[in-house]
Every structure is written in C-alpha cells, then in structure tokens.
Amino acid sequence: MSDNRNSFVRHEMLSERAPPVGERGVLKWARENLFSSVFNTIMTIVSVWVIYSIAVGVAPWFFNGVWNAETTRECYEILDGVNGACFAVLRERFPQLIYGFTYPSSEYWRPNLATVLLLVALAPVLFRRLPKGLLVFTVIYPFLAYWLIWGGSILIPTVAFVGCFIGVACYKKFSSGAFVTAITLSLISAYLCWFLGGYLISWNDAFLSLEIVPSRDMGGFMLNLLLGTIAVSLSIPLGIALALGRQSNMPIIKWICVVFIEFIRGVPLITLLFVANVILAFFFPPETSIDLILRVIIMMTFFNSAYIAEVVRGGLAALPSGQYEAANSLGLDYSQSMRFIILPQALKISIPGIVNVSVGMLKDTTLVSIISMFDLVGMIRGPILSSTDWNGVYWELFGAAAAIFFVVCFTVSKYSQWLERQLETGKH
C-alpha cells in the first residue's frame, strides 16, 4: 500500500512528442536536400543565383511586353526606353506564323478542323482503352484531311478511298487461297475502281468542292505539322517492312534493305532535302511536275523509315528466339508468325523508340526552311524578319517558335513515357 503511494507508475502511454524543429518539415527537407554538405550548399547558392539572374533578366522584359503595336518603332516608342518585349509581332503576324502567308484567310477553318480531327483520329491509336470502333475514323481520316487541306471536289478522295477499300476487301476475300492471286486480284479491282472513278470525277468535278489550295501556299507551323504527320505515318509501315527485310534470311532482300538503311542513316537530312529540292525532279518522267512539298515528303519518309527500321530491328532482336521457334513449331507460315506472334511483341518493345524518332522527325521538319520553304522557322527568317515593320525582333519570334515546338514535343514525349509504363508487363 505504502509502496503504491511512494512510487509513481504511469498508467497511460505518453502521446508522441513532435520531432525537434530541425528534424521535421521544411527545415529537415532543406537540410537534407539543399545543405547536406559544404559542396551541396555551394551548389544550392550557385543555382539560386542562376535562377535569380535569369529571372531578373527575363521577367521585366516579359512583363513589360507590348502587345499592341504596328511596327518595331511603335513598339520602342511605347516602351520609351524601358526594357521590354515586343509581343505585338506575334499578335500581328499570328496567322502567318501558323498558316503561312499565302494560305487564303477565309479558309483557316479547314486546317483547324483537320488538326482537331487528327487528334480524334489518333486517339484510338494512342489510348488502347478507347473502343476499337473509332479506328474506322482513323482509316477514313487521311482522305478527309486531304480534302480539307488541299480542297477540290470530295469525289477525288472518295474514289481513292473506295478503291483502297475494295482492294483490301478483295485481298481479305481471297487471302485464304494463294497469296499471289489475292494480291493480283486486289490490285486489279482497286485500279478498276480508280479508273472508273476518274470518269466520275471528270464528269462532275465541282461536287461538294472546297476552294483548291495549291501545296506552295502551305506554310507556317501548319506545314511543319503536315510534313511531320504525313512523313511519320507513311514511314512506320515502311520502317517495319525494312526491319523485317533486314532480318530476312534471303540475301538479296537483306542487302537491299541494309544498303538503304545505312545509306539514309549515314547522310544528314539536309542533303536529302537538297536531293528533294534539286535532284529528285530529274528522276521523274520529263512531262510530269511533282510538287516540292511532295518531293520533300518522299525524302522525309525515307529518312524517318530508316531510323524506325533500326528501332524495330532492336525490338525484333530483343525477342527471345524461343518465340520464333514456337511460331514455327505451331506450323504458322512466315506472314502468320510475324502478324500473330513476333510483331505484336516486337512493336510493343519498340513503341517508345518509334515515338522518340517521330518527335525527332517533327523537329527536323524545320530544316525545310533551309531549302526556302516557308515553315514556322522559314516564315520568321524570311518574310517577317526581313520586313521593314518588324526588323530586329529576334527574341519574341524565336521564343514563340521554341515554345510552340516545346509544347508539342514535350507532350508527345510525356505520352511516350506514360505508354512505356503502361506497356510494362511481365516484369513482375
């Protein structure tokens, strides 16, 4: 009893005490992440100084920016000696930067609509959770986009589409039999359809017609997007075919593919654009004249497909040989084993690489400004900077161009990283 009174025994647990000030919250974080050692502290100070000096340099320039002016001189008068940007050029020349300077302004809705529809068409390809039915639109989209951007009668893309459709349908119908018969029949039927369609078009070429915009009127960022999208979408099948050809055990096929891939990868894109600009025309029949934009698309497709072929080859090589042997032992022929066993796995591995190459392609479309096409960079370097109104406005224009490309390319590369995580199966 007396023991009980003299000694003190706590009957309940003490509540946890908060950690010392230095061991919690912002302080702990700062100590561990910013000032953990002398060297680290120096680095932090240097970084803060770098950020500070960039901010001090750029912020006034950015926030003092003039958005309403007609010329550089007017801009400077408004600024009155204060350090500031002249964003008015972006405002005034916005249509030129986006659509080029000869695209008819009444038709701007067409490329806009085509871009929105492009996103719709790409959605089922990019996000596999969406219903597969949407892929129908993806198949129709190229023909629709052609009609929207270049204009003319809707009959031309319709006939082209119907021809392709009938050709594919024919191939599907006869592909259970001999391969050669199916291909021949499908080619003949498609050609027949195009041939008959030609009469239809010449009979009524104003049906549902949009104003025709020739290729040379395309420009600005629209041209970059156009070249990038077409070259990338054409080069993926070509690249896969080249990769398969390079893996083939038929020596002639293999060597054709190897020489093509190594040649294209060995030269800079700019020389291929020179070819498109000055040489390619020599290789077409004398009476034809092919658009420069089409020649550029051909060369860019070749260029990109060689790089995609290397990515896909990496994917093919990464598959364990057991997969090939399993496909063979199931009695599948070459095309079946590729379509059902090898390619689905190889492409899955190579998708991030393909996306990276494609982002690179989109960035490389700016090179067309060197062969004097007026893409976004070409517009800035050509008509805008050399105009008397906007002489010497480098930063705002190139900054805007960089920002546009950054937004697009950064989004795509983030998507690629997301996809990489989504596709990570069988590792755990």
Partner: protein, 404 residues
C-alpha cells in the same frame, strides 16, 4: 507408295517455285531483283532523258575550275582563285573542326548535367531536368538561330572597344569577345620551341610510365608509392625548366585593336562559336539523359558492395560504377557524336562555311552541278558515318569479350 512420294518430291516441277518453301525464296528474291532493276532502269532512263532535255551531262571537271568566291573562316590557305575542290576541302576541314569541338563540349555539358541530375541536391537536380527537357524538345535549328542572335546582339561590336573610355574592354588584355567573333592569343613558336614541346611530350609519357610502375609495384609487393604529387612534379618541372633554360622560346601573340577591328591572335568567327555552342548544348541534353540512364543501370547492390569493401565514394564511382556504366553509355554516345557531325550541316543557317556551305551551297549554285555536288556531299558524310560506326562495332566487340 512411299517410294513414289519421295521420288515425286525430288522431281523438280515448275509449280514448286511457288508452292515449295525451299524454292519459293528464290522466286521471291528473283522477282525482287527484277523489280529493283526495273525501277533503277526507269529512274536512270528518266534521268538521262531529263539531262539531255536540259542540255546537261554528268561531269566532275568543275572541281578543277577557279571557284571565284571567298571563304572567311578557313584552316588552310585559300583564296577566290583556288579551285572548287580546294573550297570543298576547306569546307571538309571546317565541318570536322566544328564537329570535333562540338563533341568535346557536348560531352562536358552532357556528363556534367547527367551527373548533376542524379545529385541529391533538389534544386540542382530540378535545374538540370529543366535544361534537358527544354533543349531536347525544341528543334536544333531554332537553338542555332537563337544562340546566333544572342551572340550578335549581346556581345559588343569591335568599335565599342575604341576610344578613351571604351564601353567594352578585353579580358586580361588577351581575350576579346565581340559580336563578330572571339579573339584569343595565338602561340608563337621561336627557335628552340621544338625542344620544349618534346620535353613536354616526354614528361607526359613519363607520368604514365611512373603510374604504371607504381601500380605494378603495388600489385607485386603491396608497397604503396605516393603518386599524386610526384606526377604533378614530373608533369611540370622539366618543361618549365627547359622553357626558361632555352630563353622563353614560346610566346603569345595578343589580339590588338587596329582601326575598326582586331588584328592578330586566333580569330574564331561568331558563326563558328554560335554553331559550336548550340550544337554542344543541344546534344549535351541528350547525352545527359544517356549518362543518367547509364549510371542508373548499374545495380544499387554494386555501390553498396563497394561501400562494404571500404571504398571511398570517389573510388566507388571510379572503380565500380563508371566502368559498368560506360558499357551502356558509350554506344549511344558515339551515335550522338555522329549526330553532331551530321547536324553541323545546319551551319548553312548561320553562314558558317562547312562542306554543306561550300560544296552544297555556293559551288552548287555557281556551277549548277547539283547532282555531282550533292553526290560528293553525301559521299563525304557516308564515309564519316560508316567509319565511325565501324569503330563503334570494334568497341562493342571489345566490351563483349570481357563479359562472362
């Protein structure tokens, strides 16, 4: 029954070319070859017809003619009376110069940024991430143009260096950074400088020999010899000694302001500097990612094991992490070097006279020999790329051998 089947299989029939797997590949290749030849013949026929119609022919004789244009940045003697071939050669050297400088600088940027991105300093890591993302996602052409205009607008013109109270002044009276280019002192070699250079090379060999010797001694006897300070002494002392004994045979020629421009020293044009810087900082962002991936690819257990063996952190990096990371880093690194070489053809945008600017630019426009010029241009780049990929294959094989 069975014998007849066997004999039937051995009898070659025409339909087997299509239906028998053994022969089908021959048919297929045969047709592929025929198609290829047809395409080539068709293109060749068009080419000949077009050339005949335009009154042209394929001839390389233009290479021997006087070029008639000047090249402002050159490594070898050249004037407007020189031939187109020599102009092309000046261009080749300029391409190789900017590619070489670019590779070194890009490696420095890339390795620094890649290591700093893994730093446990939050703000540094974030800064490096911003650098990498910004530079990777904007076309290199835009970077070249931006950096070129930075160069032109921010750096002072030579005239700013003139007068009593000049707006700009030279760094240590030796380096002048102007909007037209950068001037740095140029070493001048007098009599006896050869001996100094020879001593210098010998002392470098000496340092390596000494390090080899001390390592051998360590492995054989376990005796550790101090190497750091001895190396420094071997590196500097003999050269300096000979330099003063010979009576300062190597001097520096400083750039000086004469009239409206600088004279003397080594002059690097603004276009070279901006192209060099733009290519290296752009490619550096890619290299940073490769370096980061390479370091991260080394298993965490490796550095823990090295730590458990009692190695200090810099030794862990040098002896354990880097040798393994290099296997992952080097192959893509070399392909980025190749990219720098190919991207240096964008020199056209800033007016730097590389091979694309001379042979593919002015020569092509002056002579109208588009096919020949572009073919030669492609041949040059092909030779460079194929030789670099050959070196890369040799390297890959050499690191494959060590794997067990």
């Amino acid at each position: 029954m069975s014998t007849s089947q066997i004999s039937r299989r051995d009898n070659f029939q025409l339909s087997m070319l299509l239906n028998d797997k053994r022969y089908r590949s021959y048919t297929f290749q045969f047709f592929a070859l025929i198609i290829l030849i047809c395409i080539m013949a068709y293109l060749g026929k068009n080419l000949l017809e077009n050339l005949a119609a335009a009154g042209l022919n394929i001839s390389y004789s233009f290479l021997g003619e006087a070029s008639g244009y000047d090249i402002n940045q050159r490594l070898i003697e050249y004037n407007s009376q020189s031939t187109h071939l020599r102009a092309a050669f000046v261009g080749v050297l300029n391409t190789l110069l900017v590619a070489f400088l670019g590779c070194i600088m890009a490696t420095i940027f890339g390795v620094t940024a890649g290591i700093l991105r893994l730093s446990n300093n939050w703000i540094v890591a974030k800064l490096m991430m911003i650098y990498v993302e910004i530079f990777r996602n904007v076309p290199v052409l835009i970077w070249i143009l931006i950096i070129h205009s930075v160069f032109l607008t921010i750096l002072p013109q030579p005239k700013a260096f003139r007068g009593e109270n000049p707006e700009a002044s030279m760094l240590w009276d030796a380096f002048a950074f102007t909007g037209r280019g950068i001037y740095i002192p140029k070493p001048v070699f007098y009599d006896g400088s050869l001996i100094v250079i020879a001593t210098f090379i010998l002392s470098i060999i000496g340092v390596f020999a000494f390090r080899n010797y001390s390592r051998k001694k360590l492995y054989d006897t376990g005796q550790l010899i101090e190497t750091r300070w001895t190396s420094v002494v071997i590196f500097f002392v003999p050269t300096l000694l000979v330099y003063f004994v010979m009576g300062n045979p190597i001097g520096l020629e400083y750039p000086e302001l004469k009239g409206f421009n600088f004279k003397g020293g080594i002059y690097a044009r603004g276009s070279l500097i901006s192209l060099w810087f733009a290519l290296s900082i752009y490619t550096g962002a890619f290299i940073a990612e490769v370096v980061r991936a390479g370091i991260q690819s080394v298993n965490q257990g490796q550095s823990e094991a090295a730590g458990a063996l009692g190695l200090r952190s810099n030794l862990v990096m040098n002896l354990v992490i880097l040798p393994q990371a290099l296997r992952v880093i080097v192959p893509p690194l070399i392909s980025f070097y190749l990219n720098i070489t190919k991207n240096s053809s964008l020199a056209l945008a800033v007016g730097y006279m590389d091979i694309t600017g001379t042979l593919g630019g002015i020569t092509l426009n002056q002579t109208g020999r588009a096919i020949e010029a572009v073919l030669l241009l492609m041949l040059f780049y092909l030779v460079i790329s194929l030789s670099i990929s050959a070196i890369m294959n040799v390297y890959n094989r050499s690191i494959m051998l060590k794997e067990r």
